[in-house]
Symmetry: C2
Amino acid sequence: METIKVGLIGFGTIGAGVAKILIGKQDQITKATGRQIELVKICDKDLTSDRSIDLPSGVLTDNLSEILDNPDISIAIELIGGLEPARSFVLNLMKAGKNVITANKALLANHGAELFSAARSLNRTIAFEAAVCGGIPIISSIGTALQANRIESIKAICNGTSNFILSQMEEKGTDYQSAVREAQLLGYAEANPSMDVDGTDATQKLAILAQLAFGAEVDWKSISKAGINCVDAVDIRFAKELSYRIRLIASAQQSPNGLELNVSPTLVPESSPLAQVKDAFNAVQIIGDSVGQVFYQGLGAGQHPTASAVCSDVIDTVLGRTAITFKTLKLWNDQNEKVVIKDPLTIYGRSYLRFCVKDQPGVLAEIASIFGKCNISIAAMIQREEPALDHCVQMIIMTHAAPEGQLRQAVEIIAQFPFVHGTPIRLSVQD
Amino acid sequence: METIKVGLIGFGTIGAGVAKILIGKQDQITKATGRQIELVKICDKDLTSDRSIDLPSGVLTDNLSEILDNPDISIAIELIGGLEPARSFVLNLMKAGKNVITANKALLANHGAELFSAARSLNRTIAFEAAVCGGIPIISSIGTALQANRIESIKAICNGTSNFILSQMEEKGTDYQSAVREAQLLGYAEANPSMDVDGTDATQKLAILAQLAFGAEVDWKSISKAGINCVDAVDIRFAKELSYRIRLIASAQQSPNGLELNVSPTLVPESSPLAQVKDAFNAVQIIGDSVGQVFYQGLGAGQHPTASAVCSDVIDTVLGRTAITFKTLKLWNDQNEKVVIKDPLTIYGRSYLRFCVKDQPGVLAEIASIFGKCNISIAAMIQREEPALDHCVQMIIMTHAAPEGQLRQAVEIIAQFPFVHGTPIRLSVQD
């Protein structure tokens, strides 16, 4: 029986999960694959922390060259995260003849083109099921099972931290800051959760999905993005009143004038599948021209779900399925037809707007007149008698679909009125 | 560029859908696969019906030997359904050197062992993504993406007709017969829907999933099965009152004493993902030891979703992924370790019971005493003052978990009481 030797770089939470599967389930994997898959080296700076796993002696090292320079290791798993040294490591591992598996969405979103081009010229493969939505097999679904489809749209809840925080606010009526603290306490948010709550993480994942599903090479920084850090408890309440729930949605949609990409806290109808996604769960809704709507839900992060995805890539790489899929998909290939990305300012969409306004005559007329001038039609409006802070009231306006540029302009003009306090809040609305 | 020639047998609804994709999207598929996939022959008895598709002349034939004896055709798609002649066709096609793709769940549930053994000895492959849950890529997910997991349980809504009927009854308050007629009118149920509404179809699909996820070779006829044809409008109402919805659930679950298999209309908590599945949608909830809970929802039937699954198998077969997966999974292989199937009578579960009883003193005491004697604990009970037919009242009893055998015995005894009218109704309950 053939033995495949695997090296793992990064022995944190996910790394330990991968080691548990590759070592603990070795018999099962051998039976399933007909190959002995052996985790022979794990490289990490930290050689002492307890990861609740018994490693054979000599496996753990802080010297990368024990993987890089070992010609018997044919598969390397990169789980250190971040851009450097992950980028150099992956390039060097491929140059050293290893196929790479990574869970690093930031790396792919920033350096996908360079890494995939290097992989092609070195005749190596890169697999990345764990980089988007952890345990949900969304990368393999789009890359293989849905391949007879022209994908029309993807809407993803791909940041578990954000979903957990929104879910807490929704269910317990807590404010944003308390929900963040609760998420940190339970391990769903890092000490500094800014990449999660400002939408960066979701935007990087969306850039990867856009490449995979639409062949679109997009700079993730150019995607129009908002995070959940602008959502207040009052927005959750008003959304509920309007029969919506708020979710951080990363959305990609084909349109006649190009691919529309957006990451934003979004009001989704409370009866929609996306609205049912609670706590740290992730979900993806795909519409394909043949298959119609397919919906996936699962755990997007955490040791075991992410390790499940990494190990499925290991098995696929060992069996040769990865090589076929890698060659077929031609990801981040500059020979691909260029996909037009629509200018965010021209994307049509509905908005939920919240203005904190002084409780005085003429306010509504002034605001309404700006919408009229900007050619934006108002679908619904709520204003309550209960005063907010500083003798202001909250005014909620739901618009009909209008171009992003016009909406921004209208909100900017209204924000300058002396009777408007603070920054107006704008969320997307989906039906 | 290599050209792969494909033959299609069965030019009904699904067959026409497959032809539309393979012909209409030929350029897209060629670009994606790097091969020219050519649908060269379609065989059907009916040469005249309009399928809204322009075929090149000479493609449609009623002579199977034009596929069987054409050595250039390397892939054959079987879409005629049923057992014979489908079984002989598939065997002969493989003997003639063709890899087979089928959407035929009855064929696999009845003759899987024979067909897969023949495929192995002939060095051919069989792919069947479309046989279970149509457009949901559940076969490839279990067979590839979740392969690092030990699957613990599967709960599937895999019969769209049943789900549509239950959904109609739930939303419109209609009775079973009207909902069936509505389903027939809209094309969601056949003129004779018995295989759908008596649970046969779901049971055959469960047998396939049990083979794929657990390696269990099970005679589908031995699986404990009930269909939705026993569900009355009153059950939908009572379920709602108890905060449940009724779904036809095909369930497979690992237990210390073997694999538990069951198909039954089931009360699922109204907040659960399965309860959100409406209309003709299918859904599958899988729990894996690493990945945790993954949930899939999509269209389980219909021309386009099913054709999407068939064509994904075509592409996988062309690219060579099917050959790898086929070899790895060793499905229906008598060399596999035997998986113990638990005796249905020993499976523990909760039940919803409805008795139509005469409105007279002592009835509840007599019924309750039988449950006590059979050692079954009652969790909830509803009896209403409003009389049902024949001066009877409906008595609803929800039990705690008890072995199937004891429950059957209790119900049989109670059914004999002179004050019980008609057949008691028993549904499963899941929490």
